[in-house]
Amino acid sequence: MIRLAAVGDVHCGTDMGAQIRSQFASVPDHADALLLAGDLTRLGLPEEAEVFADALRELSEMPVAAVLGNHDHQSDRQDEVRAILEDSGVRVLEGSSVVWHVGGAQVAIAGTKGFGGGFEGTHATAFGEREMKAYAEHTRDLADRLDRCLGEVVEAGLTVLLLHYAPIRDTLAGEPREIFPFLGSYLFAELADRHRVDLVLHGHAHRGTERGSTPGGIPVRNVAQAVIQQGYAVYTLDPAQRRAGVRTA
């Protein structure tokens, strides 16, 4: 069995080092690896990323992967934020993946920030003004990159898809419907279904709901800290139950 700790939307400020350290101190007692679903920092400042990375240093034996969120882009210094996290041992995923051998099994974590656009039936289209095209194309570009990445990892064992933005409507329940198009995109659920991943984790929707599933039945969990109401959630996966294995059997 593989035990994964996960949380998003910690929004670390420069004055939050002790708070973050205590939040994650117990992770090794509960899990084999830690996944961070974006919005690690409040304003996307390198000094915030330093505080966050420093607080995680006590988990040096633990595999940690992350995606960035919109807050991590707020100061337009996301490349510095990413470099600071990577230097401290956090694998920051964007259309990329990492494979770990933990809990006696192999698990691939594929990740992207994701973006908005909305959901099937009403998704944004790349039509009209340049700005509207750019909005729709950013989501499409991230999805295309993730598609290629998942094509390479899906047979490796268990696969977990890590996102910041939501891939389905279910886990947004509690948010105003008017902002759904800014909270996620169905393109990432479609990829989860096509590649038969085992679990999808996301954050971003602070007023949302923890549990949902893709149209193809893959579990989706919104791990925003304000949603799970604890330091992190723990999900246990059984390598014998993997979906890709079912498909190829």
């Binding site: 929004h11 602070h206 109401q229 604890q230 996966l237």
Partner: protein, 82 residues
């Protein structure tokens, strides 16, 4: 004087972009002449900054700050997937 609905949205926009708060996910409503703010922030300092920022853009308006700091406790259980 502005329609209060414009003031409500102006407060929401400022709570998103003012670096002392920086939280676009907060709810802002006008209830019985008071500004009701809901949602979550990472710590008490950001929570307190909400009152300061609203006082600057809407002087004299009462603020009902119901924003919470989410608990960061050790989990009490786990979920088995599949």
């Amino acid at each position: 004087m502005d329609d209060p609905r414009y003031q409500q949205e102006r407060i929401r926009q400022t709570l998103a972009t003012d670096p002392r708060v920086g939280e676009p996910e907060l709810g802002v409503d006008l209830v019985a002449g008071r500004v009701l703010v809901t949602g979550s922030v990472p710590n008490e300092r950001v929570r307190a900054a909400i009152d300061l920022v609203v006082a600057e853009i809407a002087p004299g308006t009462a603020v009902d700050n119901r924003v919470t700091v989410p608990p960061a406790d050790e989990p009490t259980g786990e979920e088995t997937i599949g």
